[in-house]
């Protein structure tokens, strides 16, 4: 559906996007993830034809952005960050104006606006000026704007930023509802959001792609780095390192804290695979008393932190 080839963008000397390649398939909800200033917005702006790439191409279906900018714009609906709408206009007038620019015929306009008002929950604010609306409602007007011509692809830049938790849930529901039929590209720096709404996640750091895949595959990709937490009574670091360290797959063992009063000592053990069975066997043979034993599963947060810190 969308192909991005060797895309770069320079602002003067600063390289915001550096030779990025990826594809977006039809019907996918793709999340662009990255810390602030990673280049997410720049990528989306180039995709929507607002900014010109410094080099590289973007093609949507059979159109390329250099030659068929107008055709691509017709296929896309875009919601920029913080929905910059005209302040003085009434919501209805604004949607009517968007419908005209999008080329809707006059008999299709009113039903379409009604449809979107229902979908985005705008019925109560239809006749209020935009500058009187709350952030959440503005965001919804922006969503309605982006969906006006029923585009095949929706591009949403941080659709939930600045919203309260209830509004976030509502907007996510709307996105998931639309995502059943459309291709959606959204950017976010909130990981739980990417996990909750996206089929595929592309992590970007300093203008480069550092990971690409579904949230689950990303989690599995860094497996082999498991952290096992063990709490033992009557044990000291030296003997634990001797006994458990002999198992194949243990990388390091560290003492976290020791409680002198009840004799409990906490250890963390970094392993390259799941070896909890062998560890338990070894512990059973000793006189230690096991009070706590669990393996930490890698969260998207950890992966994200690792990937974006390394580079």
């Amino acid at each position: 559906m969308i192909r991005i080839d060797n895309l770069s963008k320079y602002y003067h000397d600063f390289c915001a996007v550096d030779q990025i390649n990826f594809e977006i398939n039809k019907g996918e909800i793709l999340g662009l993830l990255g810390p602030n200033g990673a280049g997410k917005t720049t990528i989306l702006r180039m995709l929507t034809g607002f900014l010109r790439p410094s080099s590289g191409t973007i093609s949507v279906k059979d159109f390329t952005i250099d030659e068929h900018r107008l055709e691509i714009k017709k296929l896309l609906g875009y919601l920029p960050e913080s929905a910059p709408l005209y302040h003085d206009m009434i919501v209805y007038d604004y949607l009517n104006y968007v419908a005209s620019i999008r080329g809707l015929t006059s008999e299709r306009k009113i039903p379409r606006i009604k449809e979107l008002a229902d979908l985005c929950g705008l019925n109560e604010v239809m006749h209020r000026p935009i500058n009187e609306l709350s952030k959440g409602y503005k965001q919804r007007v922006g969503l309605a704007h982006s969906m006006m011509s029923d585009p095949e692809i929706l591009v949403l830049d941080e659709p939930t930023s600045g919203l309260d938790p209830n509004q976030i849930v509502e907007i996510r529901d709307i996105i998931r509802q639309i995502g059943k039929k459309k291709t959606i590209v959204l950017s976010t720096h909130i990981l739980s959001e990417a996990e909750a709404t996206c089929d595929r996640v592309v992590i970007i750091n300093q203008g480069k792609i550092v990971a690409d895949g579904s949230a689950d595959t990303l989690k599995h990709s860094t497996e082999g780095e498991n952290l096992v937490h063990i709490t033992l009574v009557n044990a000291d670091l030296k003997s634990v390192q001797d006994i458990l360290g002999s198992i194949v797959g243990v990388k390091s063992i560290e003492q976290v804290e020791a409680h002198a009063d009840n004799g409990q000592t906490k250890f963390t053990c970094l392993t390259s695979k799941d070896i909890r069975a062998e560890m338990y066997q070894k512990i059973k043979e000793t006189s230690w008393i096991l009070t706590e034993f669990y393996q930490e599963t890698q969260s998207l947060e950890n992966i994200f932190r690792e990937l974006t810190r390394e580079n």
């Binding site: 107008l70 913080s82 910059p84 005209y86 620019i101």
Partner: protein, 234 residues
């Protein structure tokens, strides 16, 4: 073209939703009305010459006030991003906004039609110069609107946009008044550049193609420059 018309309608409507339109129209009518009628009975002639004589100066600050928000505001609140990611080209945006501001100039001039009507009761008014004057006023307004749009496309700050636009318009109005100080061989070129000179020709009731060409070329050059600025920006 359909898009340009849509933008034209929206921008024209916005003038009347916000207080700008009413403020600008009132100020324009008070200033021109005062300067015109305060000396009208002293001259004791049934002409609008003084009204049109003053117009280039008043337009130099009224027109940039009308056009200053057209691009600057969009850049400032970021709505330009929404506008340009819809299927429109920057050319259509500029044409739409330009037409809206010219239409608004026409709306500003509309109430002044009461002047010639009133005067025609007082004396024997020659309508030729009046119509010439109004045609000239629209041409002058269009040229200044184009300059104002160019100034607005340069910056996201409306005040800077207003001052830049006003400076260019004033320069064009006053350039033929400074000829006095300049070397003789430059006089021809500089007097041709003066907006006031061409406007006064038309407001005599003589519509000369040279004057019309002058206004149309100023309009075109300014709009094209705005187009280049906007294209370069993003």
């Amino acid at each position: 073209m359909q898009q340009a018309i849509t933008i034209f309608k929206k921008e024209f409507k916005t003038y009347f939703i916000t207080p700008i339109a009413y403020i600008v129209i009132s100020i324009f009518l008070i200033v021109t009305g005062w300067f015109f009628f305060s000396t009208f009975f002293i001259f004791n002639q049934a002409t609008l010459r003084n009204f049109f004589g003053l117009l280039p100066i008043t337009f130099s600050f009224v027109v940039p006030a009308i056009t200053m928000r057209l691009f600057s505001e969009e850049f400032n609140i970021g709505s330009y991003e929404l506008l340009l990611t819809m299927p429109v080209t920057s050319r259509e945006v500029i044409v739409g906004k330009f037409l809206a501001s010219v239409a608004f100039i026409a709306a500003v001039l509309l109430p002044t039609l009461t002047y010639p009507v009133t005067i025609s009761f007082l004396g024997n008014l020659d309508w030729g110069p009046v119509w010439g004057g109004y045609i000239g006023a629209i041409l002058l307004g269009a040229a200044f609107c184009a300059i104002g749009i160019f100034a607005s496309s340069l910056t996201r700050n409306q005040i800077i946009s207003f001052i830049t636009g006003m400076a260019i318009c004033f320069a064009l109005t006053l350039v033929d008044k400074t000829l006095f100080f300049l070397p003789h061989n430059m006089l021809g070129i500089l007097s041709y550049l003066g907006a006031d000179y061409h406007f006064q020709n038309i407001s005599k009731g003589i519509i000369d193609s040279r004057d019309v060409v002058y206004f149309l070329s100023v309009t075109f050059i300014a709009l094209y420059s705005a187009h280049l600025v906007v294209e370069e920006k993003y």
